[in-house]
Every structure is written in C-alpha cells, then in structure tokens.
C-alpha cells in the first residue's frame, strides 16, 4: 500500500513537472513572429509521416540511421510496457496484462529483443562519440555541456534497458521456481540468457533484484522524461510538429518580406495609401529571437545537435567559422535566456542583449545559401532562413554589409547589374564573337 502511494505521488509529480516545462517551451516558441504554416494539410501529414515517423532522412547515413531506428522503435514500443508498469504501480498488481496470454508472451518477447537492440545501438553510439570521436560530434560548438548531454542520454538508456532485462531475468527465474505471485507469463528470449548467470541466487535475492530493477526502471523513465525538456532530446517530441510545419516551397525560394513590399509600393507610387499600415512597424530582418518566426524558434528546440548540417556545409568544411548547427544552438540558448528573463520580469522585458551577441558577422556572411544544411537535416530544420534574416537586419537596419557587398548593391542600383557594366552593353553577347 505504501509502495502504491509513493508511486502515485512520484508519478504525479513527474507528469506535473514535465507539463510545466512543455508549457514553458510553448510560451517561448510563441514569442516569435507569426507565420502561416497550415496550408496543404494533406501534404504536411505526408511529410510528417515520411520524415519524422518514417525517419526517411536518417537513413541517408545508413549506420547511424539504422541504429537510430532501433532506439526510436524501442523507445516507442517499450512504452507499451511502461503502461503496464504504471497500472501495476498504481494498483499494486504484478504483470496485470498477463491474461492476454499468447499475445502477452509475444509482446514481452518483442520488448526484450527491442531492449537488447536499444542497448546495443546506444553502446555503438557511445563508441562513435567517445572512442572513434566522429568529427561532427567534436566541432567547436560541441562544448562540454552538449557533449555530456548526449552521453548522459545514451548512458541512461543503457541503464534503463539493463534494468528492464535484469528485472525480466529475475522474474523469469522466480516464475520457474513458482515463488509467490510470480505467475508464469511472458516470453524471455533475451533475459533468459541473462537469467542463466543469476540462477545461483536465492529466491529472496531475486525478489529484491526484481523489485529494485522495477523501481529503477520506472523512476529512471520518469527522470528521463523530465530531463528531456532541458536537452537536445526534446526532439523526440518536437520532430513531429516540426516536420508537419515544414517549409513546403522549393528550397531555393527565400520568403517575401511584406513590410518591405508595402514600403517599396509606396515609394513607386506615393499616391497609394499606406494600407494595412496600422500594425506596429516591424524591424526589418532579425536582431534577436523575437524577430524570428515561431517556426524558426520551434526549429531551434527541435535541433538534435547531430551536426549533419554542419558536416555538409561548404563554409564549415573549408574552415570557416560558420556552422549551421551552431546557428540553431545559439538561437535556442538565446531564447532560453530571453524567455526566462521574461518569465521573471514580464512580457515586455528586454535585457539589451541579442542573438547577434552570440552569432558573429563572420559566421553570417560566410553562407553560400546552398541549402545543403536544410537538405541534410533529419527533422527539416532551416538554419539558412535565420542566417538570411540576420543579414537582412544587418543590411537594412544597420547598413552593416561588408564593403564589397555594399558596392555590389550600388552597381545594381546604378546600372542594373552587380558588376560595373553599362546597361547599353547588355546585348553585346551577340556580337562579341
């Protein structure tokens, strides 16, 4: 009975804390500007099913892709097991779904296989990160915390899977010994192997081990749940909405700035009334996270820090400072900072800092707008749009373009071409033979 009460209290606290954080992050995302992203719902569902559920972009790198699918499938499917654990925990039962009979055996059997695959995949991931030291996991922006974050997650998953399999192993032995309430149920393709190492233990020890692992497993899951919102691991939730709200246009297209269109139309035709000019004037481009759209902010929270974007970025690969992953990490870190200050001091609070304190001009101007990053991102994040919005701010609000680009602008203004050529010579290509 006491165990049940403790369970219910801990469970409720974990859920409450988690939903508090989800609401907090939702609030921060909504600090962004509005953008319409709900056209073509059918296409959006398809994109989400393909990219998030179907992991279509993960498998372009087969090793990581397939291992990730193990972890991902394991994560989702083993959650059915968690459902049983919760019911058992609340009701004080043991293996409450056992009456499902053969189907139950099938379920437990598949959970075990998946648990083993998750275990193995996480081990390989740890080796790739820490022993093989894959380059993309050790670039500049992967400072101490992002690296530990990844390792904490992998180690936690390994511990959880170990607890789960050990719990089943002791349960399996206790079932064979017909001890107490350990009714015969489930099939144990993996843990029966583990059990063979434990067969010398007394039934009392086995009961203690089984109970310990049961509690460790469920408390570990609740702790993990609450770790996720502080981690790049939040992508396990956000990748779904983030792909649903993907940019469905051709990647080459940069969005049209309507506030500029309004002004340009006024300039070309001063008699036109400044219609729709009643909304508050907006800054051109982005200086801070508030100038980005909610979708760009959602991107930031969806980033898995996998570095696939950076590992194909032509600027980064040729030694420039720019890293699209860092753009996303900076955006998220700045949003966390600004959001927390708003939580404390009210909605209008600004600390005088901005995203441009984190992302330097040297990074911003190195981008070739090649879209390699957006193509590579497994959750359809768009770092390029943020880079362009920062450029827009620098150019239109601060006249801060590099001098050569300023010259290029002048040439377009003066002679309709980015180079010094006379408009009258445009047709000379026919005769220049």
């Amino acid at each position: 009975m006491i165990a049940q009460i403790i369970f219910v209290v801990l469970f409720a606290a974990a859920v409450a804390w988690f939903s508090f954080n989800v609401r907090r992050i939702t609030r921060y995302i909504n600090l962004g500007r509005d953008i319409k992203r709900n056209d073509q719902p059918w296409k959006r569902w398809k994109t989400m099913f393909r990219v998030a559920l179907g992991q279509s972009k993960m498998v372009t790198r087969p090793v990581a892709g397939i291992l990730h699918i193990f972890v991902y499938a394991g994560f989702i499917i083993i959650n059915i097991e968690v459902l049983e654990i919760i019911v058992d925990g609340v009701a004080g039962t043991h293996r409450v779904f056992a009456p499902l009979g053969a189907f139950y055996d099938f379920l437990i059997g598949s959970f075990e296989i998946l648990a083993f695959l998750v275990f193995a995949a996480c081990a390989v991931f740890l080796i790739r990160r820490n022993v093989l030291r894959l380059k993309r996991f050790h670039l500049k922006e992967m400072t101490a915390w992002p690296r530990s974050d990844a390792n904490i997650i992998l180690i936690t998953e390994i511990l959880l899977m170990t607890a789960f399999l050990t719990m089943n192993a002791s349960d399996f032995l206790l079932q064979q010994r017909h001890v107490g309430h350990y009714l015969t149920a489930g099939s144990f393709p993996v843990s029966s192997v583990v059990a063979s190492l434990m067969s010398n233990l007394s039934s009392e020890s086995l009961v203690s081990i089984e109970r310990f692992c049961w509690w460790f497993h469920i408390l570990g899951i609740l702790a993990f749940l609450n770790y996720v919102p502080y981690s790049k691991h939040f992508h396990i939730f956000l990748s779904f909405p983030n792909t649903w709200y993907s940019n469905l246009e051709n990647k080459g297209r940069l969005n049209n700035m309507e506030n500029v269109t309004r002004e340009v139309k006024l300039m070309l035709d001063p008699s036109a009334s400044p219609t729709a000019g009643n909304d508050a004037p907006q800054r051109f481009g982005a200086k801070d996270v508030f100038d980005l759209t909610w979708k760009q902010l959602m991107d930031a929270y969806s980033c898995t820090e996998c570095g696939r974007c950076t590992s194909v970025c032509p600027a980064n690969l040729t030694g420039k400072l720019l890293s699209p992953r860092k753009i996303m990490m900076d955006t998220r870190d700045r949003l966390e900072e600004a959001g927390r200050l708003i939580d404390k001091n009210g909605k209008e609070f600004r600390d005088g800092k901005s995203l441009l304190d984190r992302i330097t001009k040297e990074e911003i101007w190195a981008c070739t707008s090649c879209n390699a990053c957006t193509e590579a991102c497994p959750v359809n994040i768009d770092p390029l749009s943020i880079i362009i919005d920062l450029r827009r701010y620098l150019v239109m609000e601060e006249s801060g373009a590099p001098a050569e680009l300023g010259n290029m602008f002048t040439k377009i203004e003066n002679n309709g071409a980015p180079w010094q050529f006379a408009q009258a010579d445009r047709f000379n290509w026919t005769t220049n033979t």
Partner: protein
Amino acid sequence: MDFKVETMAEYAARGETPEVLFWIGCAASFDERAQKVTRAVAKILHASGVRFAVLGTEESCTGDPAKRAGNEFLFQMQAMSNIQVLNGYGVTKVVTACPHCYNTLKNEYRELGGNYELVHHSELIQQLLDQGRLKVEGGHFAGKKITFHDPCYLGRGNNIYEAPRSVIHKLDAALFEMKRSREKGFCCGAGGAQIFKEPEKGNKDVNVERTEEALGLSPDIIAVGCPFCMIMMTDGVKSFNKESQVQVMDVAELIARAADL
C-alpha cells in the same frame, strides 16, 4: 552569330509573341566565358526552330544577389521593375541558362505580381532532343569522361537533377558522378552573394574543394549548368594547373558542339 537574335520589342512591334523569352541574366550577358554559353543556347534554340526573343537592353538584374545579401529593398525594386517589363510584354514562359535567375523568376516574383513558367535551358534542350527538333551526332565526345556539377539553385533549390544528366547521356561520352552529387551536391562557393566578396577566413576556398573532388575522377570535361559555377570551377581547375587537360563546359556547349552548331 549568323542569325539575328530578336528582342521582345521587335516581336511586339510586329504584333507577335514569341514561344518563349530567353532570359540571359547578368553573368551570362557580361562575363566573356559565360557569353559563349549564351551564344550556344541561342544557336540551339535557333537551330531547333524555337521562336524566342530576348529583352536586350531592357533586361535588368533579377535582384537575386541583393536578396541573398539581405537587401530586400533593392531586390524588390528590381523585381517590381522587371515584372513591369515582363508583364508589359505579356510574357508567360521563360527559359534561362542561369539557375539563380530561374529560381528568382520562378519562386520569388510570384508574390510581387510576376507569374511565369520557367524552364532551365537543360530542360528545354532535353525536350527539343526528345521531340526530335534538335539532333546531335555521335563522334564528338567519343571516349570522353564527363562529370556533372549540380548547381545548388537548380538541384536542391528547385529539384532539377535529371534534365542536365539526360542531356549529357545523349552524347557518346561516359558520365561519371562525383560522390557528392544530386541532393548531396557540393556548392561551387559562388551563391548567397559570395562571388561578390572575398571569402571569410578559412583553410581552403570552396571552389578548390569542389574542383579537387571533380578532378579526383580524372575527367576530360567538368560539365556545369550555371554561369557562376562556370566561373568558380574554371578558376578551380586553373588553381590546379589542369586547364590544358580538363575543360569546364556548360551542357549547352556540349550539345551545340555535338550538333555542329
């Protein structure tokens, strides 16, 4: 050139409209190397009996480099005046040999009142070959090794990967793919207004990295489909002192040569 390239104004004066407008673009109008490509495209269109016109001196920068460098004002000024000219002539279909112009005219003029059907020259050449309006003869490229460098704004930007390849397949040459091709194509380094400035500090130029990859296949020809890629890859080949062994050519030039134009 042994035929006259007509302008939209000349067509309009006769009360006629051409099949398609050939949008040249700044690089292809002014850069000497790119001008050769422009002439190759014009010859192909002419030889295939396509009734095409150009804007001539009425053409102006699409605004692509301004937009990508963050100057949306300048971009929209350019766009609106271009749209005025294009719509004034009732243009509906545009062919261009520049993927940047292609992208801007197709995707970024829409919201400002410009709706045009865009075809990249490689797509049009493919159609002309398929329809039999254009014929290429074998022999010119027998035994040659060609690799194709995907322009970002044609490939990832607008999902056109096959047209240039299928055009190259019409030659009796062998097409070799670089490891980074199609969706994974590696930039030449020119886009996003980079070509107009010095690169940021790094350990290599982007075009050198890309050319190195292409040269790894020991090709006779590096085929391109963009005037900016042409400039960057040509420079890249020079930086390896390989210009006597390896040519950088636009797909239009390959076809023009194969068709004896």
